[in-house]
């Protein structure tokens, strides 16, 4: 335990982390963005409640607060998918364009610590946004229908998604020289994850209906849906008992029906989601470390060989 605490303290003493957080958090734009986001989420929550209770808060039923929770959580997922690439897609290419990367690489900071710091600072702003909305979610607790563990489960899923999007964006930022291209590729990857997989799943479902290999196409469709954060969040909310679609919209109903048809709440679906998102993120970040200084692994290999021969 003491060793972990020491390592954590040492890591927190990382000068790049302190510099990045200081630079990000002390600008006026950050305060403005935080305030604006809270205002929008607050306004949405207020309008949602007002429409449902017509000004009489006693009329608010637990089922309705579950709807509000579902709505807010999807709004937050949309925010994550839009804002994360914007923040993370320039972390390395921006350093390269500002011509500060060369100097940074000649300091004793390792490429791994640079990439990991960039990852943490990229997601820290979004994490702050998520944490800031917790008081708004407490409105949901006030009227019942949702318990804290359910909220935490949805937040957990969103944090994994956030980490994956940040990793993808940092990957493009490290491998492409220009921030412009990195941003385009990051958003394209997010679009492929959120929309592309949904379209592919829908396509495979339709093929399955007219094919003799229904099981195979159905399985492929299920994989596509199980890798899509929108459907996995729906599966989480469905498994928590939120079967009432928000505003009874047909598109939301279709998402929940896909969850039931393909049994996305199953362990297998969650395993494939977590394996891809966590494992994929780790692989992408490792490739970024290699790209940042190609000699890193050669040195590590030599050290390992020397250690083994000893």
């Amino acid at each position: 335990m003491e060793a972990i605490r020491y390592r954590l303290a040492r890591w927190m003493d990382n000068p790049l982390l302190r510099k990045e957080l200081r630079q990000r958090m002390r600008s006026g734009r950050t305060v403005l963005a935080l305030s604006l986001y809270l205002f929008i989420i607050g306004a949405v929550a207020f309008v949602f409640m007002y429409v449902n209770v017509q000004g009489q808060t006693l009329l608010l039923q637990p089922a309705r607060t579950a709807d509000l929770f579902t709505f807010l959580s999807y709004l937050q997922l949309a925010m994550i998918s839009f804002v994360t690439p914007g923040i993370a897609s320039g972390v390395i290419s921006g350093e390269r364009e500002r011509q500060t990367l060369t100097v940074l690489l000649t300091t004793p900071l390792s490429p791994a610590s640079i990439i990991f710091t960039k990852f943490v600072t990229s997601i820290s702003f979004l994490l702050l946004l998520i944490v800031m909305t917790l008081p708004l979610y407490s409105i949901v607790f006030l009227f019942g229908g949702v318990v804290p563990s359910q909220v935490l489960a949805v937040f957990g899923l969103q944090i994994v998604t956030l980490g994956a999007i940040a990793s993808v964006s940092i990957f493009w930022s490290t491998w492409l020289r220009r921030t412009g291209w990195s941003t385009v590729f990051s958003y394209a990857t997010v679009a492929a994850l959120f929309l592309g997989l949904a379209v592919a799943g829908y396509l495979f479902d339709n093929i399955a209906n007219h094919s003799s290999d229904e099981a195979v196409w159905g399985l492929m469709s299920g994989i596509c849906y199980s890798l899509n954060p929108i459907y996995m969040q729906a599966s989480l909310e469905a498994s928590l008992g939120f079967t009432s679609p928000v505003f009874h919209q047909s598109i939301v109903s279709s998402v929940f029906s896909v969850v039931q048809i393909h049994d996305l709440s199953s362990t297998a679906s969650w395993q494939s989601f977590f394996y891809l998102y966590l494992g994929g993120s780790a692989l992408l970040l490792v490739s970024c470390i290699w790209r940042l200084r190609p000699g890193t692994f050669a040195v590590l290999r030599k050290r390992l060989l020397r250690w083994l021969l000893r």
Binding site: P15, R26, T100, T102, S110, G295, V299
Partner: protein, 326 residues
């Protein structure tokens, strides 16, 4: 302090650096000269652990750059030819960031920031933002940044490039001041006369290969041994050319016209004064008597103009350097 052994770097079919053998002694200021694309920046990048060589080895102190890059990084302060600064950081925070990155303690950072800002004449800008500084100030700050962890070796890639004359002189004076700090400095530049003023030794690189390497005295002596002089007279230039051709210190009359003679002079400055007096005494009405070129730049152009000539000059220079060292 800095050594390379048959260092090579190849990009596809292009050899950026070919069998480069450098030996920069501790405490010296070594000037690395070459045309654009000659391989200077590639060599410095390899030494700064930013790039892996295709073959050969490079050492800073006793640490090899490919196998012990972390040790090399702690020993060097590297300033690239073009570098940016972070927005929203004050000069003090900028230096503190790099100091902390090298593991310098908080008390030492405070002390060194004060000392280095004083050295680079930026003490009044300590609380200003780095992106608000002029180019010259940013270059000086970059040099201060290199010194934050007090490294024994400094690798400076064209530190005066893009600076106005005043900033260039300021930068030159600061680099000259590094001698007192007992630093080994490897500096690349195109501005050869400035290098002669700052450096103890000079290496000339052409197409990735070192074509000449000697002390500044040896190089300067060689340049001075073959100074090109232009003599302009009101009349009688052709007759004067005959007389000059017989002069013991005139190695060659290059061109002669009625009013102008160009020659190669091998004597000292005192011999030069005597030649002027002799010409005047012989009745030639000397209008101007001036050196044409005759600088390190000429030697550089000469060495880098033709491969054969370069090799000859290199062997001659290396021979003189070896003789001087012996």
């Amino acid at each position: 302090m800095i050594t390379t052994e048959n260092l090579c770097k190849r990009y596809g079919k292009t050899d950026a650096v070919r069998d480069l053998n450098l030996d920069v002694r501790a405490g010296t200021v070594f000037g690395f000269v070459g045309e654009n694309g000659a391989g200077k920046t590639t060599t410095l990048s390899i030494l700064a652990t930013l790039m892996l060589p295709t073959s050969g080895r490079a050492f800073v102190g006793s640490a090899e750059v490919t196998t012990e890059p972390a040790a090399v990084r702690r020993m060097i302060g590297y300033m690239p030819d073009v570098f940016g600064v972070y927005d929203d950081l004050s000069v003090r925070e900028y230096l503190a960031f790099y100091g902390t990155a090298y593991g310098v303690g908080a008390a030492q950072i405070e002390e060194r920031t004060k000392e280095l800002l004083n050295m680079v004449n930026l003490e009044d800008k300590a609380d200003g933002y780095v992106n608000a500084l002029s180019r010259g100030m940013q270059q000086r700050l970059g040099l201060a940044r290199c010194l934050m962890h007090d490294p024994p070796v400094l690798i400076l890639d064209e530190p005066a490039s893009g600076l106005d004359p005043r900033s260039r002189i300021e930068m030159r004076e600061i680099i000259k001041g590094l001698r007192q700090r007992d630093k080994t400095v490897l500096i690349s530049s195109h501005i050869l006369p400035e290098l002669a003023d700052m450096c103890d030794e000079i290496g000339i690189i052409k197409r990735g290969a070192l074509v000449a390497c000697a002390s500044v005295e040896v190089v300067t002596a060689r340049v001075n041994g073959h100074r090109q002089i232009c003599v302009e007279v009101l009349a009688g230039g052709l007759a004067m050319a005959d007389a000059l051709a017989r002069h013991p210190y005139v190695s060659e009359v290059l061109t002669c016209e009625e009013t102008r003679v160009d020659l190669l002079f091998a004597g000292t400055e005192r011999d030069q004064v005597e030649l002027i007096l002799d010409l005047t005494a012989a009745g030639y009405q000397v209008k101007t008597f001036r050196e044409v070129g005759g600088s390190l730049e000429d030697l550089f152009l000469h060495l880098t103009s033709d491969a054969h000539a370069a090799e000859q000059s290199a062997s001659a220079l290396e021979g003189s350097a070896a003789g001087q060292m012996a």
